[in-house]
Amino acid sequence: MKLKYILAAFTVATAFVSCSNDDAASNVSGTGTLNVEFDNAFAGDDLLLNSQTYITSQNEVLKVSTVKYIVSNIVLTKDDGTTVTYPKSNSYFIVNEADEATHVLELANIPAGNYTKIKFGIGVDQEQFNAGASGQGDFLALAQSEDMLWSWSAGYKFVAFEGTFTSATVADATPFMLHTGQTGSSYNYTEVTLNLPTQALVRQNITPQIHIVTDVSKFIDGTNKINLSANNSMGMGAMIMGGEALPLITANLNAAFTVDHVHND
């Protein structure tokens, strides 16, 4: 008798479960919103500005005052292999650690689907830059207000990473400023593709959030090591805004971003 009841209960339960599966399958239509969060960290630690010190593999001790980067050209891949490119003119963002409101990019009108990959650029791509004002909207004004515009060249800073450091050879806290962007010999834009560990299920009534962790230590302490002390000319600070260091830092960016997890509400 008990078994019959258990079986009956099980059947009913199964029926309910299969009902909701049918619902999910039949609601993959229309569009929804996808949120992409950029969470800045330093190696395995949370990034706290102007307070916590962080040490690199080169034994340089950093205090970070500024982390900003341009995120652009977002392309999402579905489980069937097709891609969705976010409209280019809306696809330029500035993530600024000091401004919490910029940490989550809200992407609207995303076709409902199960997403498995996200690709984005760091910086402004050369095609857009060569088009002059066309397609810029107000991004130039945003860039200026975020101090991500190089006034002398009417160009963009792609990554700004600033603070102070000390080391075995630099006893007093000395400024460092790292700005990437176009230089004479290289453009320095790069695109990063990340697999999502679980799918982001965009639906009309489900807004997933992709939580990306940006390990800023990798900017200078990635595959390529940038030694701030060696760039500290005349003790006036490590000002890295041009030259051969920029392509090296740009190459490091590919390993700086990982998807920590995906929430599907």
Binding site: A131, G132, A133, S134, G137, A141, S145, A154, G184
Partner: protein, 336 residues
């Protein structure tokens, strides 16, 4: 229903007039892509209004026109370098704004290659206009004339930085200077002829100057070190700053010589006050350096040999490059 719409004002029935960019027969091809930003009467007027508007600067006074004055072919007469907001000075001479759509790089070091983006450089420089782009946007959005011009030039679109820059480009692209005596002579128009001195000067110019100052635009758009003594107080490394290539130390863009009689003083830092000084430099003032242009060093002789008479007639020729139409054309002037 139709009555209601027509009562709302003339905007719905306004038809913007497309403008054809002048492509003079004796000029190289236009480099600016007008398909991305076709000039129209409203866009041109909007660009003109912006050009003369001091509110783009942080002190409300320094408009583009402050350093780019029409009578001087849009240069800053008598100024080696210009003073911007708070009387701050830069390090380079105001170049002429003319025939911009035919150039391939802008600024003395060619740092930007798109005309749309060039205005950002003086606009955001803290020693020139020191403009805040967000504040400029707010100013335009609150100004009735700007609102009207933007809606006519870019119908259905918001007032944006993009459209502001496009309007400035539309204005500049229409500023073609191609009706000097020299142009009329070259195109066989209006019975224009050169005097014997001018003709002799033109022949000499072609022999001695036209490799760099090439085509009827008088520039080959290249960067060269023309033997100027380096001013140690400034040490302006020119093109090197852009390319970071050692071969580009102290190289600057070859400017167009059109309207050259009006655009004194000369060179990237305005150090020469007269065309005589310029020619004296080329004949006997060249300073050698590792990146000195090879054209200015011939078997150990520096410079371009020029006799006093030759200098005189070359200057007579250079005076034929003055385009009175251009500097008096009221469509490029300030309008209320």
């Amino acid at each position: 229903m139709p009555l209601l719409f027509s009562c709302e004002g003339s905007d719905d029935s306004y038809h913007d007039v497309p403008l054809a960019v002048i492509q003079p027969g004796n000029f190289p091809q236009l480099t600016y892509d007008v398909s991305q930003n076709p000039p129209t009467q409203s866009g041109f007027e909007l660009g003109r209004k912006l050009f003369y508007d001091g509110r783009l600067s942080s002190d409300g006074l320094v408009s583009c026109a402050f350093c780019h004055i029409q009578e001087n072919a849009f240069t800053h007469h008598g100024h080696t370098v210009s003073h911007g907001v708070d009387n701050l000075v830069g390090t380079r001479n105001s170049p002429a704004i003319q025939n911009m759509g035919f150039l391939s790089t802008y600024m003395w070091d060619g740092v930007t290659t798109h005309l749309d983006l060039q205005p950002l450089i003086p606009l955001t420089s803290d020693v020139e206009m020191n403009g805040d782009l967000s504040a400029i946007l707010a100013m335009m959005k609150g100004d009735a004339r700007y609102k009207k011009l933007f809606s006519q030039a870019f119908p259905g679109e918001a007032i944006t930085m993009e459209n502001m820059l496009k309007a400035l480009s539309q204005f500049m692209v229409m500023m073609v200077s191609s009706n000097s005596k020299f142009d009329m002579y070259r195109r066989g128009e209006g019975g224009a002829t050169l005097t014997p001195d001018e003709q002799e000067g033109y022949t000499l110019f072609n022999q001695k100057c036209a490799t760099c100052h090439a085509t009827d635009l008088m520039t080959d758009n290249s960067f060269r070190n023309n033997g100027l003594a380096v001013n140690p107080q400034v040490n302006d490394v020119g093109r090197y700053k852009v390319t970071e290539a050692a071969a580009d130390y102290y190289k600057f863009r070859v400017p167009s010589l059109r309207n050259v009689a009006l655009t004194a003083p000369y060179m990237h830092d305005g150090r020469f006050g007269s065309l005589e000084s310029v020619l004296n430099h080329y004949s006997s003032g060249i300073v050698n350096s590792p990146t000195l242009d090879s054209l200015l060093s011939n078997n150990g002789t520096l410079g371009i040999p020029l006799s006093p008479h030759e200098k005189e007639v070359i200057i007579a020729f250079l005076n034929t490059l003055t385009d009175t139409d251009f500097i008096t054309n009221t469509s490029f002037s300030y309008h209320d």
